[in-house]
């Protein structure tokens, strides 16, 4: 349902562009005949509702049309080539954020106040820095000052890609890490007031075991939801991070399509990004059911 609404929004947005797309593509000196042919090819000569039916029917079959600027490419092909890079980037940074965020949150919830204040400072700083700024600082420190990682670009073949992914992933994890840290801290504090934790302390369970076995599992539930909800922000961050590091992902394709006014590609990428966000939310709900034994009984 929401996916349908998204398709409508994308479709309407692109139709609302002032001006004639065919003339925009062919240039001001195109003759009437080639304009008419292109319009027919893009189904722009049909009434609006039939255009939508044609578009939506195509979408359901996985056909997003052809690129307007380079007609030899299908939009689905462009997305298939670039999306994996973006998903790997988002996936790796989600893992980094989980590790860093959970550690920061648990440490902050600990007994020492100075550690709490320090880690909350880090969280607030990360939260207020845009990912591209973190990316630039990383480039400055790790590729210019220390020359450890390349400042951008993309390798040839798989193991080679990894070193190009390190800095972008860390930069992008700056979006999610502070959110996770904040949530984990709060729920760790809440959980540690529960009776079962007191009982475990009374039984003489060691602090490390206490945290791993009793506190952590309970903190992970809100984190699952958080990761799902923020998937959209990760994709949005990835678009910017790809521009900073020159990764040939889906965001770079979008930016290129935007500057070339390649309407079908813009339309396709925007729609797919929304579908990704919707499915991420569904997956998060599902994982929640699996992770939390309490929701299974109901």
């Amino acid at each position: 349902m929401v996916a349908f609404a998204c398709a409508v929004v994308v479709f309407m947005l692109v139709r609302l562009v002032p001006g004639d797309p065919a003339r925009g593509i062919l240039g001001p000196h195109a003759n009437e005949e080639s304009l008419a042919t292109l319009n027919a090819e893009l189904h722009l000569d049909l009434p609006l509702w039939r255009q939508f039916v044609a578009y939506f029917g195509g979408v359901l079959q996985g056909d997003l049309g052809r690129s307007v600027v380079t007609p030899s490419q299908t939009v689905a092909g462009v997305i298939r080539a670039s999306l994996p890079i973006t998903l790997v980037l988002v996936g790796v940074s989600t893992i980094i954020s989980l590790l860093a965020g959970v550690t920061l949150g648990i440490v902050a919830a600990g007994r020492r106040r100075s550690v709490d204040v320090a880690s909350r400072g880090v969280v607030a700083l990360l939260l207020s820095s845009p990912p591209f700024l973190i990316g630039l600082v990383l480039i400055f420190v790790f590729s210019i000052t220390f020359a450890l990682f390349p400042p951008g670009g993309w390798g040839t073949g798989w193991p080679d890609h990894l070193k190009y992914l390190v800095l972008p992933s860390i930069a992008l994890s700056g979006v999610l890490t502070p959110l996770i840290a904040r949530t984990v801290r709060q729920s760790a504090l809440d959980v540690s007031r529960e009776q079962f934790v007191e009982a475990a302390i009374a039984r003489g369970v060691r602090p490390r075991k206490l945290i791993i076995l009793h506190v952590l599992p309970n903190c992970m539930l809100p984190v699952v939801t958080l990761v799902g909800i923020n998937f959209g922000f990760m994709i949005a961050g990835a678009v910017v991070i790809e521009a900073v590091f020159g990764l040939p992902g889906f965001g770079t394709q979008l930016v290129q399509a935007v500057s070339a006014r390649d309407y079908t590609v813009i339309q396709g990428i925007t729609l797919v990004s929304a579908l990704l966000v919707i499915s991420a939310n569904l997956i998060a709900d599902f994982v929640y059911l699996v992770v939390d034994p309490r929701t299974r009984k109901g």
């Binding site: 692109v14 607030a124 700083l125 949005a236 678009v239 979008l254 930016v255 813009i266 925007t270 929304a274």
Partner: protein, 284 residues
């Protein structure tokens, strides 16, 4: 509320004092510096000078003073954030409250599906597409090119988040005794919304709005990296950093100094926002 109580509450939180102080300092600098600066925003000088007493943020590749440009950029970024958040806040709160309170099921459903559709897009992606559709080169009155498009795109995307928040709050408020009572007493829908729902929804949304201003600044600056933001040579934080990126190895100050100002502003905003949210008792 009497003034002493406000002040008492205000002082009770160090975070809010520090945040407000930093914010005031940045705003003041943004207003004063471009106005009294000896070198104007686009005046050329010796290029790529390191920070010194005469140019405390150094100069860029054309010899322009980075400090003056950063502060002039702050006018644009912060101005856009204040204007954009206010418009989205009012628009989103009203529409969300209306959808939550209306008896017309279809209106509620239609509005909220529209909100769902807007919220489903990754924020920057939708903003970027909208900026391009509106036309990034368009200028309006005294505003430099790019700003109207960025403003409209951000507001068109952002209102939906406030509408969603307002909708959820309204649904829970409508169960409250005082709203039920107002309805039973036969008050008109307009009166219930205007006097009983909007004030309380608005307070919570406004607290979110302060935090949202960071997102606005970040989005405005990020757009420059995607080539769709405020157009050079207009100084804007993202645009300055984007131009400076090519010189990161020889002149880090062009990029990192405005970045530090941006981060400090964001930090100050989040300190204020967190304290306000804690006080407005969000989520009741």
């Amino acid at each position: 509320m009497r003034l002493p109580t406000i002040w008492g509450r205000f002082r009770s939180s160090t975070a809010i004092v520090v945040g407000t102080a930093v914010l005031c300092a940045v705003v003041l600098l943004c207003i004063v510096v471009p106005w009294v600066a000896s070198s104007s925003v686009n005046e050329l000088g010796i290029p790529l000078q390191a920070p010194s007493l005469s140019h405390i943020f150094g100069t860029d590749e054309l010899g322009r003073d980075v400090f003056v440009r950063t502060m002039a950029g702050g006018r644009i970024d912060l101005g856009l954030a204040v204007a954009g958040v206010s418009v989205s806040l009012v628009l989103g709160t009203l529409l969300g409250t209306l959808a939550g309170a209306t008896k017309v099921r279809s209106l509620d459903a239609a509005l909220m599906r529209l909100v769902d559709a807007f919220v489903a897009f990754p924020f920057i992606v939708l903003v970027l597409v909208l900026v391009v559709l509106i036309g990034p080169e368009r200028s309006l009155g005294p505003l430099p090119p790019g700003i109207p498009a960025v403003f409209v795109a951000l507001v068109l995307t952002d209102w939906a988040w406030y509408a969603r928040l307002a909708h959820a709050q309204t649904l829970s408020l409508c169960e409250r005794d005082y709203v039920v009572a107002a309805r039973l007493m036969g008050f008109s829908g307009y009166r219930v919304i205007r006097h009983h729902l909007v004030p309380s929804v608005f307070r919570v949304n406004a607290a979110y709005g302060v935090g949202d201003a960071i997102l606005f600044v970040i989005a405005t600056a990020s757009l420059a990296f995607l080539g769709a933001g405020v157009q050079p040579p207009v100084p804007e934080w993202g645009a300055i950093m984007f131009e400076g990126r090519a010189y990161l190895d020889s002149a880090w100050w062009i990029t990192l100094m405005p970045g530090a100002v941006l981060a400090a502003t964001g930090l100050a905003l989040s300190l204020v926002a967190d304290s306000l949210l804690a006080k407005s008792g969000s989520g009741q």
